[in-house]
């Protein structure tokens, strides 16, 4: 994870020419392969199916229907002038209220959110970078449990100059975050003379597709309190947990502790995943720390949400009958999709981590590796990309310490496309099994996870 610095060209900064934007990672390389040959049911049925993009299209019809209702869709001329002028970094009050209420609903009313603590940002990408600017000085570090979303390497490090120190998790306990792993990561930073300023968790986890257990969250909060550091909980997939009860937000733990030590806790949220609206750039930071709220607000000048979009969504999100129905239906549809892909993969002997949230599953292909190495994993990834023509994300791009795991997205396509993808995987595994049955490997190994 070193930041490569070249000699700046034409008087550009190191930031401009460094590779810390991380776009050479296979995570993004697969997207390019897809862009060059995208699957289309009619026009390009043999193209690459994109399963490396964590987008939620399964419930977009509900949002679309709501926003196209003739009654005030939020863009009437009456509000136009005031709306067009509104650039207050506090954000539209109606929008903040609506976001706070939506976040409460997602948590089944088990946590309260104060609209005055909601800070708006153009997406969670901006929120995570902004928080890092506030919590860490250049050279300082944030701890992040592995595997984690590849974008963090850019969002937390690129312009901020901060470092990431991984908290290693593995499949022996379903990638749970243990107190030992936390301490080990902290010691590792100390040994390198790196000051740890905070920890970033994603809950539900990307790429694992699981919610973090309550007891683990308690351990994490105890740990950050002991070390006197911050905790950022990116809860961007909170509305994508398959059942409301499965998801425990750090907000619930904070309230259960009567807000003791809460000034170190900050939550990031966005509408890009749960509502499937990444194009509208709607992110928020929720902080229990007044100084962080004030500073984040000032910094949000660099990344405000379009007032046109705030106005549109304020109306929708404050319509409780819509949001209740949406949240429930979205959970059901995601669960159904998840079950479909899990069953499909199981049918060819592929196991996944038992997931309960998110737009993807965490698939174990370690048995297909000749050797348990990163290189073998990447070779397999390339093979799947070019032979099976599906783009999935290799675990190494998510900093997983165990080779052979892959993240497979299932919500960014139609059900038909998912079926095509499963068929291709089926055929791939059949071919492999036929080849292998003449090979030295025993057939037992083929079906082990």
């Amino acid at each position: 994870m070193t930041i490569e610095i070249e000699r700046p060209s034409v008087g550009l900064s190191k930031v401009a020419v460094s590779e810390t934007h991380c776009e050479k990672s296979p995570y993004f390389a697969g997207w390019r392969a897809y862009d060059e040959n995208p699957y289309d049911e009619l026009c390009n049925p043999s193209g690459v199916i994109q399963m490396g993009l964590a987008e939620n299209q399964v419930s977009l019809d509900l949002v679309e229907k709501y926003l196209q209702k003739p009654a005030d869709n939020g863009s009437t001329t009456v509000g136009f002038r005031e709306n067009a002028l509104f650039q207050d970094y506090h954000g539209l009050q109606a929008f903040r209220k609506a976001m706070a209420s939506f976040m409460e609903q997602i948590r089944g009313g088990r946590a309260k959110f104060d609209p005055d603590r909601v800070v708006i940002t153009a997406g969670a990408t901006a929120a995570n970078e902004l928080l890092t600017f506030i919590l860490a000085d250049p050279g300082d570090a944030m701890l992040i449990p592995t595997p984690y979303y590849p974008g963090f390497d850019r969002d937390l490090r690129w312009r901020t100059g901060a470092n990431i120190v991984p908290v290693h998790c593995d499949s022996s306990n379903d990638f749970d975050i243990t107190p030992e792993a936390l301490e080990a990561a902290y010691r590792e930073a100390e040994s390198k003379n790196i000051k740890v300023r905070g920890m970033l968790i994603t809950n539900p986890s990307n790429p694992l597709g699981i919610t973090i257990k309550r007891s683990t969250l308690e351990d994490i909060l105890d740990f950050v309190t002991r070390k006197n550091i911050h905790l950022v909980s990116d809860e961007i997939f909170s509305g994508s947990a398959f059942s409301s009860e499965d998801f425990v937000s750090v907000a619930e733990i904070v309230e259960a502790r009567n807000y003791e030590d809460s000034e170190r806790v900050h939550i990031v949220y966005s509408l890009s995943k749960d509502l499937g609206l990444p194009g509208f750039r709607v992110g928020t930071i929720y902080s229990y720390n007044d100084k962080v709220v004030t500073t984040a607000r000032r910094m949000s000048s660099f990344t405000l949400i379009s007032s046109q979009t705030q106005h549109l969504l304020a109306l929708m999100l404050s319509d409780k009958s819509f949001t209740e129905n949406y949240i429930k239906t979205n959970r059901q549809r995601l669960k159904k999709r998840y079950q479909k892909i899990i069953d499909g993969l199981k049918g060819v002997g592929i196991e996944c981590l038992r997931g309960n949230a998110g737009l993807f599953c965490w698939m174990n292909l370690s048995s297909l590796l000749e050797k348990p190495t990163k290189e073998q994993e990447l070779a397999l990834w390339k093979l799947i990309l070019h032979e099976v023509k599906i783009n999935i994300s290799p675990g190494s791009s998510c900093h997983c310490s165990e080779p052979g795991w892959f993240r497979v997205c299932f919500a960014n396509m139609s059900e038909q496309t998912l079926e095509v993808a499963l068929r291709r995987i089926h055929e791939f595994m059949d071919r492999r099994n036929n080849v292998k049955s003449f090979d030295v490997y025993s057939s037992d190994q083929l079906f082990s996870s």
Partner: protein, 434 residues
């Protein structure tokens, strides 16, 4: 517990520029509910031509309802997060930029990087062009927001290029050289010039001579030029606006090194009066910078909803050309109203052909020729006369006594009231003062 950036004052909000807004927020003028409240003359917003936009929207309901020929575009917009921006929007933006430069410069849509407002663009440029501790030279007086936008999170320094009322605050070669030497003395490596053209707060456009000086200087010192042209659509009088790009082309420098070191910032916040929609952009000739800034724009993308609406508005060429013309006329007339009112009561305004404000000379009202006296006057004007105008010191003006007064963010009646209050201020001052 928090970073140095979080605890320092580089957010700039303690400046009198923002303090004046705070006083206004506590006691805002409203013709019906609070007629004696403070009139906001410190906000550079264009509210004069909304009716034109509003009637366009009333005639074109489809884009706001996520519809286009052939059906709904909702899904496409909802999912569109490509940091390269919407091609059709960038095409229209490129053509609009050319139109307000009388088509003397053409812009390639592929060279445009979209950002959430010019605020975001200016900061991103600093991240791309300079390291923490390096410097940009900025002519005074300059927009107070630059202290935050260029310096806060980037760690870049601003070294002012001094100016003088003696020559109407024009940029002269000796001032450029002095600023550069001053930076050297402070051990600051200068990476570029940062100009605003048309100028905020002066409201004047740079002459071809000034542009030539700047270009020659940047070539000589091997540095960048960032030209914030956010007010280019508000030029309402002669001399005509000359963009830095036009000046470079006039000197036939397209195939030289300086070509890739010239960058333009713009936005739809001022001419179109849409600051809320956060539509900003950077224009580069350098492919390396286009690539770097595009990736960086992930931290401040423009909402696809807004990109789509504006692509439709700007795509209506008849409407846009009429808007540009009508907007200019209204700004010109509004300025005339203000200036003639002020002149009647003995206040001189800098002769300006652009912008949403006037730069006025209140030196005669100072009790002493000091910045303390300027602040004293500013407080008097806010608290005794209910006017928030912006003191020159907040713009780093080298001389005390100058103020910026905005004229396009209120109704004509409110502006008349403001002028009457200024009369009251002048009446209460010494008769020989001005």
């Amino acid at each position: 517990m928090l970073s140095r950036k979080a605890t320092c004052k580089s957010h700039g909000e303690d400046s009198s520029y923002f303090l004046g807004w705070q006083e206004y927020e506590k006691n805002p003028h409203d013709p019906v509910r609070n007629p004696s409240g403070i009139i906001q003359l410190g906000l550079a917003e264009n509210q004069l031509s909304f009716d034109l936009l509003e009637s366009w929207i009333a005639r074109n309901q489809e884009p706001t309802g996520f519809m286009k020929k052939g059906g709904s575009i909702f899904r496409e917009l909802a999912l569109f997060q490509d940091y390269r921006g919407m091609p059709v929007f960038k095409k229209e933006l490129a053509e609009y930029m050319a139109a307000i430069r009388q088509d003397r410069v053409r812009f390639d849509p592929n060279n445009i990087v979209l950002t959430a407002g010019a605020t975001s663009a200016n900061e991103a440029l600093m991240f791309c062009l300079a390291e923490a501790g390096e410097a940009f030279l900025v002519p005074t007086p300059y927009y107070p927001g630059f202290d935050r936008d260029l310096k806060w999170r980037t760690g870049v320094e601003i070294v002012p290029i001094q100016s003088s009322s003696v020559n109407n605050f024009r940029i002269i070669p000796s001032a450029l050289e002095e600023a550069y030497q001053h930076a050297q003395k402070l051990h600051l490596k200068v990476k570029g010039l940062f100009i605003t053209n048309p100028s905020n707060p002066l409201g004047t456009t740079l002459s071809i001579h000034e542009l030539d000086h700047l270009i020659n200087f940047a070539i000589d010192k091997n540095i960048h030029i960032v030209s914030d042209e956010i007010y280019s659509g508000t030029v309402f009088d002669s001399p005509r606006f000359i963009s830095i790009m036009e000046a470079i082309k006039k000197k036939h420098l397209e195939n030289t090194a300086i070509w890739s070191r010239v960058h333009i910032v713009s936005s739809l916040s001022k001419d179109f009066g849409l600051p809320g929609f956060r539509i900003g952009m950077i224009y580069f000739n350098s492919k390396t910078l286009i690539a770097a800034a595009t990736k960086m724009s992930s931290f401040g993308l423009v909402s696809s909803q807004s990109q789509f609406l504006l692509s439709k508005i700007l795509g209506d060429k008849k409407f846009t050309r009429n808007y540009i013309m009508e907007n200019r006329n209204r700004l010109k007339n509004r300025r005339k109203t203000l200036v003639s009112g002020l002149q009647k009561y003995g206040i001189r305004c800098l002769d300006n052909n652009a912008g949403l404000f006037c730069w006025i000379d209140m030196r005669c009202l100072l009790t002493s020729y000091t910045f303390e006296a300027e602040m004293e006057l500013w407080r008097r004007i806010i608290f005794e006369y209910g006017l928030n105008i912006s003191p020159g010191s907040s713009f780093h003006c080298p001389e005390p006594g100058w103020f910026r007064i905005c004229f396009s963010n209120m109704s004509e009646e409110t502006l008349d009231l403001a002028v009457r209050r200024i009369k009251a201020l002048m009446d209460s001052s010494s008769p020989n003062a001005c």
